[in-house]
């Protein structure tokens, strides 16, 4: 089983910033995702968007940091909200810290 760790970043409120008092995290088993969503996530890890394009294309749009272990190695990518399947973005929970 491979756990996908998800963190929502940015947005108008600056989620997950170094000083921010708001964050949004969650995790989900890759195996529990619908087939299409799992395929999308695997494709993102196989060919992550170039760093410059990984930032959200929308001003104040959310970005997502996705982290999981692939072939024994932990990998992390950052992508715009529009690239993240709804089943993945639904697993995060906004909280005050």
């Amino acid at each position: 089983m491979t756990m996908l760790h998800v963190e929502r970043l940015g947005g108008l409120a600056g989620f997950g910033g170094p000083r921010a008092r708001i964050r949004s995290c969650g995790c989900i088993e890759l195996a529990d995702l619908p087939d299409a969503a799992r395929a999308s996530v695997e494709a993102l890890f196989r060919k992550p968007p170039p760093k410059r394009r990984s930032a959200s294309t929308a001003a104040d749009g959310f970005r997502y940091r996705l982290r999981c272990e692939i072939d024994g190695e932990e990998r992390s990518i950052e992508v715009a909200e529009t690239a993240v399947p709804a089943a993945v973005s639904a697993c995060v929970h906004d909280e005050l810290i």
Binding site: L9, A20, S24
Partner: protein
């Protein structure tokens, strides 16, 4: 203070003028083109469905090209057309339209035929504040909408479920309802509406990128114009203003923890901010989120406005407006270059008032620029 005249009610998509219809009726969905392409090639799906996905992917790609070309054309027109011709193009006031996402994520959603008189309070508020922002740009800066040519202003409300955000996607504003605990309806703070609209203004003028120093400037300009608009609506002087961003969208859970705003231009690092920011350039690092680094120019604007006094949009705002709109697009402008623009504009516009030049200079020096 002048108030917006009778707003022009947005027509339904079917009744829009042809040159504006593409925005209202566009097939701009938030599903990435890559996903649409994959569904289009999925042989397990019926032929008709695959064709729909292929059509949607094609529309999305073409729409992005149109958007990019439209912005380039507008910038080119402003640089080559004689003043009289651009003035003619800018004569019509912007059409303000509001769409209902009905808690889905497809944009723009379903149009409100008469948002000014809709039963939906969020629709009425979005229409009123967006119309007022257009009036603010016209009266304070002699500008007709975001592109200075009467561009229609399109907003979508009730986006997704419990969505804690608002954004500008290059074509339109989108507002979530908040989760009811940390945030409430994102249209409740008129500075948030002006903040999102100002992202459009920036896109049509300076074109600041959304990363590094230019990203911080991009976010800061949105906060600055958001705060100025809020002050203009309330008829406040710089002394009376609260300088907060997002005060009216904070939900009960956030307020109970002592968080009264997203950001504070007067004190970017304050404990009452949900996202405290650095206020000095020595804390700036490349790669920072623009919502973090914007604290530096935010603090400079606040200091300049307080030293100059009066109403923020009349003198300080005028300088910042021309620093944003009076130059060729500069996607990677540094904060120091922006600061120097405002120094030079203070001298050009208010040459007979050296105190203004000194105030601007001191404000930037105080934040290390």
């Amino acid at each position: 203070m002048s108030r917006p005249s009778r707003p022009e009610t947005a027509p339904c998509a079917a009744r829009l003028a042809p040159h504006r219809r593409h925005a209202a009726g566009c097939g701009c969905f938030i599903i990435p083109t890559r996903v649409l392409d994959r569904f289009a090639q999925d042989e397990q799906l019926p032929e008709a469905q695959r064709k729909s996905f292929a059509d949607a992917a094609s529309i999305e790609t073409e729409w992005r090209k149109v958007r990019s070309a439209s912005q380039q054309l507008m910038r080119m027109a402003h640089s080559v057309l004689p003043t009289g011709m651009t003035a003619l193009a800018a004569a019509a006031p912007p059409v303000v339209s509001v769409f209902d996402c009905r808690h889905g994520m497809a944009l723009p959603g379903t149009p409100f035929c008469d948002p000014a008189h809709a039963t939906d309070e969020t629709a009425r508020r979005t229409f009123a504040e967006t119309t007022a922002m257009a009036e603010f740009l016209r009266l304070a800066f002699n500008r007709n909408s975001l592109d200075d040519a009467g561009m229609g202003l399109l907003s979508s409300i009730h986006f997704s479920v419990g969505y804690n955000n608002a954004f500008w996607n290059g074509l339109q504003m989108t507002y979530g309802d908040g989760d009811g605990n940390i945030f409430i309806d994102f249209t409740r703070s008129n500075d948030v509406i002006a903040h999102e609209l100002t992202h459009g203004l920036t896109e049509y003028t300076a074109g600041f990128a959304y990363r590094n120093q230019a990203g911080g400037l991009n976010e800061s300009v949105s906060d600055v114009f958001g705060s100025m608009f809020r002050q203009w609506r309330a008829g406040q002087s710089v002394q009376q203003a609260d300088w907060l961003i997002g005060r009216d969208i904070m939900g009960p859970g956030a307020l109970a923890r002592g968080y009264t705003c997203l950001r504070d231009l007067a004190n970017p690092g304050a404990e009452h901010c949900l996202s405290p920011q650095p206020a000095h350039f020595d804390q700036y690092r490349n790669g920072m989120d623009p919502h973090d680094s914007s604290g530096i120019p935010n603090q400079a604007f606040y200091r300049a406005a307080m030293a100059i006094g009066g109403r923020s949009w009349e003198k300080t705002g005028r300088i910042w407006y021309h620093a944003l709109t009076g130059y060729r697009p500069s996607p990677n402008l540094s904060m120091r270059s922006f600061a120097n623009r405002t120094r030079s504009l203070a001298r050009q516009i208010f040459g007979s008032e050296p105190s203004i030049r000194r105030a601007v200079d001191q404000a930037w020096l105080a934040v290390g620029l």
